[in-house]
Every structure is written in structure tokens, then in C-alpha cells.
């Protein structure tokens, strides 16, 4: 064991890696070496700390000073000033965008202050490649407690009592799922971790695997004990190479310490975990398709029942939970089900991790108690909408989810309330949209996505979503017809009730929910041939403000269709017959003279 006077935590989540944290880390290490501080200061790479838009970020302990948006040269300055001379580098501290107030430590920042971290308790604090740091934070103690002091039935009761529900989307009670498997006939039984996170904009599962992989392994072993299984599989997509790498290392380290493998804690219980890498098909996040893929078959769903808890992997009882669900298990065991059940709402217990994305100031990962309102998440933690724009809607649950308009900002977020609004909790992707988002175009985007990802096994999904996409595309082109909205609704409800799996059954949701909350936008497209948000290009009419135009001719020069005409130094005009509606003229005009109608 080495004692240091300072720990420098460098966020090495995928977000910070792409904004250049490795170069910052090297610069930091070189400087520490050069200044002779190697014996005093330890540099630690951690998983995602959450505020991805501020990356690369580092935190210096024991003070907990939070530095953001660093370049390698900044790291050198931090080493010379802070680490050598003990002077905090003011310039690199976080400043709140709303009032310019400087925060020294992360607990002075609203983004962190208002969170409750259970699933993310270790991400961003420990080195994910060190099992020792996980153990220091009570890691594997829950497994030890379960194996030495609890019966399998007691473990299941504990999880049932906690009220934990699946964090992958549907929200099925986790303890109940375990009980079904434990009682199902057939052996061997299996434990599976669903890490096939596919919703556009969602990345909490990746961050947990990258930042705290042992929490998932420990939880899977606990479940193994509870249901009588000795083998676990983590199904993770190949697009998450860092998660695969850190998870593999974690499995290796856990085996070295005897925390996975034969005779764990000398109790005679054996459990091991293997990784299965998926090729990145969205449908493989559906549990039956996922199981097929693990078995080496084509990733296609099958009808349920029988549910995997009864007949799962190779026809044997199998518990499948998603990454975030697993990450909640060890704290429930250690702190007790009552503690967990005291957080959240009546029917939704604990916390939920959201991946904040889109038109919001603080994009990144946040974990809040169930029942927190959207307003708190978006405005208090997320820092509001950039550029003084108006909040329009939040999209939850990705392609299976729906939109929540501004008038429901104060609804407490839990499984039931979102379902009532026609959205779903989903895995936790939360995409924020401002006034510049066209809801018809948004529905088109998600339809295109599910069309692309539909496995094609059942016709409602394969053909139905295609027809829906064609209609929505037509509307965005300005060729919408009377009756289109009703047709979309009819098709949508038909697909929902007849598709084979979760993907198809939820695929119409983005269309249905945008029609429900933003029907007027559909009508504007169809009947008035207008896109109120100014997104659908085919519906835009460009015009030149003759007062503002000084006739510089720049627009005429860049127009690919030769649609802009006019004499030099005199106001120009646009020939709408020729105009392609590409918007280049508007982009290039220095005087703001070109506008859309």
C-alpha cells in the first residue's frame, strides 16, 4: 500500500477520451515526474464522472478541486501551481453559466449537488481497472454477506422487499423475476447481463461497465447464489470496446482474488462469468433475441411465454437484468431493502440514471431519486436550455418511448407517470428539444431507426413501420393528405397490438406520442404546408428582406441553382421556381437579410 498526499482523478469515460483526456493525463504525469512529485501525488484514471460536456475533467483530492475543459498545457499549469505550490488554478475552475459563480469543488456545482448516486456510486471515483479500489469501497462485501449469512430465499426476499424494478425499460420487479427462475424446474440455470444498450442517446450502461465493472459481476454472482446458478454471461455490444476491455480485465482480476470461480469465500459456491460480444443489432437488446444471439443463432425474438425466467438460455431458467439493475443490487444487500425502498415514489423505488442529451446546457449522466420532476432534471441539474431558447419537449425511452411536452414539466418522473403520458421510462435516454425541433421530423427519425433495425421476422413490424415511415416522410415533404394522421394512428395501434416483440410493439410510440401532444404540427405540415419549427426543408420558403439587403451579391454567388438574382448594390430576390431550399444563401448572408416564411 502506498500513501500519497494527493490523488488526481482523471475522468476516462468515453466522452472525456474523445475530448482528449489521454493527452491531458500524459502532460500531467510528465509534469509530476519533472517536478519530482511522483512519490507524493497519484494519478488515477476513473470512469465517467457525468458532466460530459465539460470534458476533459479532473478532480484533485484531498481538497476535491474540480477542473474542467482542460488542454495538455492546462495540466502542466495545474501540476506547477496546484500540485507543487498548493495554489488552486482559478482560471480552470467551473463557472455556473447562469450567474458566472465559480465553484471550487464538485459539491458546489448544482449538477452534482442535486444527484443521489447508487448505481453510479463508484463511477468517476474509483479506478475501474483496480479491483482493490472497488474492495476499498465495500466491494464484494455484499457477496460475502449473502454467501455466509443468508439463504437463497432470503436474498430473493430482500430484493423483492426493496421494490427494485428492471432498469432496462419495462420495469418488471427484479425480485419476482429471480423467484420465478429459482422455482422453475430445469438445470443448469443461467444469469445474464443485458449490456446491449441501443437507444440513440443512451449511455448509462456503458458508463457503469466502463467505470465500475465489478459492481455488475458481484451482483450477478449474488443472483447466481439466489437462483442456484453457476454461470453468468454478459452480452455487450462490440461498439463498446472500452467496456469490453475493462469488463474482461475485471473478470480476470476477480478470478485472481477468488471472487469469481470455484469455492468463493470458502463456502463451496462457484460462479463464473463470460463475455459475449454482440454485433450491434438493436433488436438484440430484446431478451429473447439476445438469448438467441448468445446461443450462436440469428438474433431474432420469439413469442413469450415461455419467459426466459422459465425457459431461457438453451431452454433453461435464466435471469436477465440490465446493467443498471445489477449495479443497484450490492448496496441493497449491504444497506437493507428498507433503505432502498425509502427512496423514490410509491411504486418506483430507488434512483434512475438518465443520459441527458440534446438541447440542454449540461449534457451527461445524472442519477436522481425516482419522482424527481423533469423540471429539476432539465433546469436545476441540466442547467436549462442553451441560447435562451424555449424548452419544447423531452424524449424518453428512445425509439420505444415518447415525447413529454412542456406543460408536463412538473410531473414526477417514475414508471407509471411516464406511461400515463404516452412515453416510457425506457433505459434512461433523455433527449431535450427546444423550439427549433420539428416533432414530425423527430418522429420520422425514430421511425427510420426502427425500420433499419427491424429484424423482419414479423410483418407488423417489418411492413407496418415501413408504411408509417412512408407516410411521415411524405408529410415532411409537403405532400401530406387529409386522413394521414388518422391512418398513422390506426397503423400504430395495429402494430402495437400485433408485433412479435418489444421492438415492434413500441416502435409506433414516437409517432403516436407526437400526434397526441403536437397534433397541430402535423396539421400545419399537412393542411398549411408549413413546418412551424423551420426544419422540414421542402416546406420552407426563402425570402429576402429588401430593407436589410445591400446587394453585396454573396447569396447569388453561393446559390447552387442560380435562383438568386438582382443588380449589384440593389436588393436581390429569390426565384422560388428554381430554389432548392438548401438554405446556403441564408447561411452566407452577413446582414441577416434572408429569412424563411
Amino acid at each position: 500500500m502506498e500513501l500519497y498526499r494527493a490523488h488526481v482523478l482523471v475522468c476516462a469515460g468515453a466522452g472525456c477520451i474523445s475530448s482528449g483526456c489521454q493527452a491531458v493525463k500524459s502532460a500531467l504525469e510528465e509534469s509530476i515526474d519533472r517536478l519530482g512529485l511522483k512519490r507524493e501525488v497519484k494519478v488515477v484514471e476513473t470512469g465517467c464522472m457525468g458532466p460530459c460536456d465539460l470534458g476533459p475533467v479532473i478532480v484533485v483530492y484531498p481538497e476535491g478541486v474540480f477542473y474542467r475543459q482542460l488542454k495538455p498545457a492546462d495540466a502542466v499549469e495545474i501540476a506547477e501551481e496546484h500540485l507543487l505550490k498548493g495554489r488552486v488554478v482559478e482560471r480552470l475552475l467551473y463557472k455556473a453559466p447562469e450567474n458566472g459563480k465559480t465553484a471550487v469543488t464538485s459539491d458546489q456545482i448544482d449538477f452534482f449537488k442535486k444527484q443521489t448516486r447508487i448505481a453510479l456510486r463508484n463511477t468517476g471515483i474509483i479506478n475501474p481497472e483496480s479491483v482493490e479500489e472497488y474492495i476499498a469501497r465495500d466491494g464484494y462485501r455484499a457477496l460475502g454477506k449473502v454467501l455466509t449469512t443468508m439463504t437463497p430465499q432470503e436474498v430473493i426476499e430482500c430484493i423483492k422487499k426493496s421494490g427494485l424494478r428492471g432498469r432496462g425499460g419495462a420495469g418488471f420487479p427484479t425480485g419476482l423475476k429471480w423467484e420465478f427462475s429459482a422455482k422453475a424446474p430445469g438445470k443448469p440455470r443461467y444469469v445474464v447481463c443485458n449490456a446491449d444498450e441501443g437507444d440513440p442517446g443512451a449511455f448509462m450502461d456503458r458508463s457503469i461497465l466502463e467505470g465500475d465493472p465489478h459492481s455488475v459481476l458481484e451482483a450477478m454472482a449474488i443472483c447466481g447464489y439466489a437462483i442456484g446458478s453457476n454461470q453468468g454471461y454478459v452480452y455487450v455490444r462490440a461498439e463498446y470496446p472500452l467496456a469490453v476491455q475493462r469488463l474482461s480485465l475485471a473478470i480476470e482480476k476477480a478470478r485472481e482474488y477468488g471472487l469469481l470461480g470455484e469455492n468463493i469465500f470458502g463456502t463451496g459456491f462457484s460462479f463464473d462469468v463470460e463475455i459475449r460480444v454482440g454485433a450491434g443489432a438493436f433488436v438484440c437488446g430484446e431478451e429473447t433475441a439476445l438469448l438467441a444471439s448468445i446461443e450462436g443463432r440469428r438474433g431474432e425474438p420469439r413469442p413469450r411465454p415461455p419467459f426466459p425466467a422459465q425457459e431461457g438460455l438453451w431452454g433453461k431458467p435464466t435471469v436477465i437484468n440490465n446493467v443498471e439493475t445489477w449495479a443497484n443490487i450490492p448496496p441493497i444487500i449491504l444497506k437493507g431493502p428498507e433503505w432502498f425502498a425509502s427512496i423514490g415514489t410509491e411504486k418506483s423505488k430507488g434512483t434512475k440514471v438518465f443520459a441527458l442529451a440534446g438541447k440542454v446546457n449540461n449534457t451527461g449522466l445524472v442519477e436522481v431519486p425516482m419522482g424527481t420532476t423533469l423540471r429539476e432534471i432539465i433546469f436545476d441539474i441540466g442547467g436549462g436550455i442553451p441560447g435562451g431558447k424555449q424548452f419544447k419537449a423531452a424524449q424518453t425511452g428512445g425509439p420505444s418511448g415518447g415525447c413529454i411536452p412542456a406543460r408536463y414539466l412538473d410531473v414526477p418522473v417514475d414508471y407509471e407517470s411516464l406511461t400515463r403520458l404516452g412515453a416510457i421510462m425506457g433505459s434512461g435516454g433523455l433527449i431535450i428539444m427546444d423550439e427549433d425541433t420539428c416533432m414530425v421530423d423527430l418522429a420520422r427519425f425514430f421511425l427510420e431507426f426502427v425500420q433499419d433495425e427491424s429484424c423482419g421476422k414479423c410483418s407488423p413490424c417489418r411492413i407496418g413501420t415501413k408504411r408509417m415511415l412512408e407516410i411521415v416522410e411524405r408529410i415532411t415533404r409537403g405532400e401530406g393528405r387529409d386522413g394521414d394522421i388518422e391512418l398513422l394512428e390506426e397503423l400504430g395501434h395495429g402494430i402495437k397490438s400485433s408485433a412479435l416483440c418489444g421492438l415492434g410493439q413500441t416502435a409506433p410510440n414516437p409517432v403516436l406520442s407526437t400526434i397526441r401532444h403536437f397534433r397541430d404540427e402535423y396539421e400545419a405540415h399537412i393542411y398549411h404546408k408549413k413546418c412551424p419549427a423551420g426544419v422540414c426543408r421542402a416546406l420552407m420558403v426563402y425570402a429576402i428582406d429588401e430593407e436589410k439587403c445591400n446587394g453585396c451579391g454573396r447569396c447569388a454567388l453561393v446559390c447552387p441553382a442560380g435562383a438568386v438574382y438582382g443588380e449589384k448594390k440593389k436588393p436581390h430576390r429569390i426565384d422560388l421556381e428554381k430554389c432548392l431550399r438548401c438554405g446556403t444563401c441564408m447561411e452566407k448572408c452577413k446582414f441577416g437579410a434572408i429569412y424563411t416564411i
Binding site: L3, K85, G86, I135
Partner: protein, 118 residues
């Protein structure tokens, strides 16, 4: 890992290393490291303190540094802060004195009065 007791033993040992990140109320040993402090040997003092604490397996001590305290003629300075008690400042500390401060003050709770400055 043969037993839960073994895990607990290992955890206790490892927790010490992680203490820095917990923000707990600790005994704080502060070495002033302005230019004056470093020039008169504060770096060696700090290393000696870290080594001594590590060697003795002392728990709950945070070692940190600060800038010049304005008493340049007394450098290197070492301050010991215990939660709820007055700060004790030692002056003219060298490596040997530093090790003794750890033993006497941190381990045995005896302030070495003759080295303190008012």
C-alpha cells in the same frame, strides 16, 4: 479469497489509501510549500512525513500542502490540525524532526512544545 474475514482485512488496509477521496474529518498535516518553504527543505519534510505515516500504518491522517504562511524565516513549517482543537504549528522542521512529530504528536498525542511557534 478464502473467507469474508480475509476480505474485510484487505478492505481495511485499502481504505486507508482511498481516504483522500472521501472528504472525511481527518487529522490534517499541512506543510507550507511556498518558494521559501521548498527552498528550505519542505519537500524532504513532506516525503519523510508520508513515509513515516505509511510505515506505522497510521489511520485517518491527510497530508497536504499549502502556500507561504508569511513566516518565511521559520520555514519549513508543519501544521497539525485535529478536528475540534487548536492548530499546532512547528517551525524550522527538518526530516528528522518531521519523523519525530509523527511519532510524538500523531501517534502519542504529545505536542513537542519547544519546536512550536506562536
Amino acid at each position: 479469497m478464502k473467507s469474508l474475514a480475509e476480505l474485510d482485512k484487505l478492505r481495511e488496509k485499502l481504505q486507508e489509501e482511498m481516504r483522500l477521496r472521501e472528504g472525511k474529518e481527518d487529522v490534517k498535516v499541512v506543510v507550507t510549500m511556498g518558494t521559501c518553504g521548498i527552498a528550505s527543505g519542505a519537500r524532504e519534510v513532506l516525503t519523510a512525513i508520508l513515509e513515516e505515516i505509511s510505515k506505522r500504518g497510521l489511520k485517518g491522517v491527510t497530508v497536504t500542502q499549502t502556500g507561504c504562511a508569511g513566516l518565511c524565516h521559520c520555514e519549513p513549517l508543519v501544521e497539525v490540525e485535529r478536528p475540534g482543537r487548536d492548530k499546532v504549528t512547528y517551525g524550522h522542521v527538518d526530516e528528522k524532526k518531521a519523523r519525530e512529530i509523527v511519532v510524538s504528536h500523531l501517534v502519542n498525542g504529545q505536542i513537542i512544545k519547544e519546536w512550536t511557534i506562536k
